[in-house]
């Protein structure tokens, strides 16, 4: 690896537009096999033949999902501790959701007032600040639970985990970049955390789409306006790997969100500022060198008023 900062290439969903191969070529990712993380596909983790064809590279499957399954089967204490943590996280998320419902509704209610007075603007700022405070509080609580588990089961030294982690590190070392697919972002994040992937990715070129791009950000935000039950409040899930700080990644947002509802969409931008909320649709990409934006192809940002604008590289 040279001293040049590593490349980070973030893509939208690979359906209907499959731009992985072109984006890799355009970004100048060095030749060589790609280490693939497809844990978000769970049991279908190994079904990566399509990905290899798209990427035009050979793949080395890091098997994070399968490795975790093997670990849990072999180390019941670890599995019990993991389950207990997950139960606590689920309970915490439920409590957060209950509070979030009210604060989000209040903030949106305030933001729909358009009289331009300072009196209203102050109330709007305060309503958004309360929402941001709840997000901060929740993130701290969630990360405390993750830290507690990590302290008890450090991936670098835990007897069951460390062996897998060393194998993963070695596999990554033999590849020119790491490729992270879409899928279930919660599963993906949990498996990456279990094996301490964050540190292993730090110096690597990384290509990621959809859920894979989300886990690289500083914060992971779940969102969907078109579930069978209609709109859901966007929820902060946890901290991401922070490989790509300064962005909240919203894959497929044009399909998943009702972008015409400007007060609702604008709240994303206000709530998660100073991070940029990135609409990353299929066929779109953005690339970074280290943490600096290097190129944008179709990726857009949401502004405070809910407008969707092009992102321009510096």
């Amino acid at each position: 690896m040279s001293d040049a900062p590593p490349k980070r290439l973030l893509l939208g969903p690979q359906r209907p537009v499959r731009n992985l191969g072109d984006a890799i070529a355009a970004a100048g990712v060095p030749d060589g096999p790609l280490a693939v993380i497809s844990a978000g596909w769970q049991e279908a983790e190994a079904d990566t033949a399509d990905v290899a064809e798209l990427a035009g590279r050979s793949l080395v499957d890091l098997r994070l999902y399968q490795r975790a399954e093997q670990l849990f089967a072999a180390d019941r204490d670890l599995y019990a501790a993991y389950r207990e943590r997950q139960d606590r996280l689920v309970a915490l998320q439920r409590l957060y959701r209950r509070r979030l419902k009210h604060l989000s509704a209040a903030a949106r209610d305030m933001l729909r007032i358009e009289d331009g007075s300072e009196m209203v603007a102050a109330e709007q700022r305060h309503a958004v600040a309360q929402l941001r405070a709840l997000d901060r509080h929740h993130l701290n609580r969630v990360e405390a639970l993750y830290d507690e588990f990590r302290d008890a089961h450090p991936p670098e030294t835990h007897p069951s985990i460390a062996e897998h982690r060393a194998a993963i590190e070695e596999a990554i070392g033999g590849c020119s970049a790491v490729l992270i697919t879409g899928g279930n972002v919660v599963v993906m994040m949990n498996r990456m955390r279990l094996f301490g992937l964050k540190r292993l990715l730090e110096g690597q070129h990384v290509i990621a789409w959809s859920a894979g791009a989300m886990v690289l950000a500083e914060r992971i935000v779940l969102f969907h306006d078109r579930t069978p039950q209609g709109r859901r409040e966007p929820e902060l899930l946890a901290a991401g790997a922070c490989i790509v700080p300064g962005y909240v990644i919203l894959p497929d947002a044009s399909r998943r969100l009702r972008l015409k509802d400007k007060p609702r969409v604008g709240l994303y931008s206000r709530r998660f500022a100073p991070d940029t909320c990135v609409v990353l649709d299929s066929g779109c990409s953005m690339s970074l060198r280290g943490v600096d934006l290097a190129g944008v192809n179709g990726a857009r940002r949401i502004d405070h008023d809910g407008r969707i604008e092009r992102i321009r590289a510096a």
Binding site: Y79, A211, P228
Partner: protein, 378 residues
Amino acid sequence: MNPELRKLFRKGAPKSADLERFLEDARFPLVDGSDVTFVYRGDADAVYLRCWIAGLDTAQPFQRLHESDVWAVTIELPKGSRIEYKFEVQKGDDRQLILDPLNDVIAHDPFGANSVCQAAGYRRPRWTRENPDSRRGSIERVTVASKAFNGTREARVYLPARFRDNRRYPLLIVHDGVDYLKFAALETVLDNLIHALEIPPLVVAMIQSPDRLKEYAGDDRHARFLAEELLPTLESDYPLVGEPEARGLMGASFGGVASLHAAWRHPDTFGNLLLQSGSYAFSDIGRHRRGPVFDPVVRFMNEFRENPGQPAAKIYMSCGIYESLIYENRSLLPRLQAQGIDVRFEEARDAHNWENWRDRLRNGLSWLFPGPVWMVYE
């Protein structure tokens, strides 16, 4: 009358060939906006439409068209409606209930079959049809020893595709489960909703009572069977989450009563209820008029309305607006909400039948058991 039919008969009875062509080409019943015209052709002294819609006469007489053997009746049916019906054909002293010979859309139920009228705007939901992309779950049988019923009971247990012992699954127990499988496409619906990530992979236990009008009518033995016999058996045999919020009871008609009753008798056991067209008969004063089979239901419902408690944290209720039970369902809603229960109530332009219950499954299941669609970004 339907304009096409009027046109055909504008100069009296049409030629046989014209009539044959019309009957061959048209789709019956004839739908024109909110007017639906039912047509019968045959030798008869009288013909009636039997459609069991609360608010309409149970027998709507057809008119013979111009001394022909064609009979028709038009009713107003709001958009989005779906009703089941039969024709009653009278000839001399003989009266026969028959399916509509001109309509091949049929719904089955435990009593046989009915013709189906799909009004303008109704479409059978796609997720109720088999989807070759959806991985199929499997169904196995479990026998449960029951002291409550002094014998054994059998349940069919749906396991989702890719079922794993090292996962933990939410549990749904379904009353009249075999009927749900046969008449409401429950297995297909589960496969499809799980495939679409709209519900999580679930374990679903389907029970079928040998005497549902008694056992589902607010019977303590049945509540005990569910909470103290079936549930522990399932939790020992399958990897289940084992928390009230990950357990649910479901049922239609008397099955809705049985679900509500069991959750009420055993609070903090079943966190979710999916209740369809529940037979929640009650009386404010004096006797109810629904017949003796409802006596235990009314006893339970009167007691429940007096002391509802907190049978579950979340309840999804649905009811057809063409069934008389809509009034009881509507009146139950504020009682439940007043208890702080998170209730979602859906009214459908349909009646007391299995396809109404089928068509509401997506909303009910995905609300009570939201799936990971929220977490998946492909």
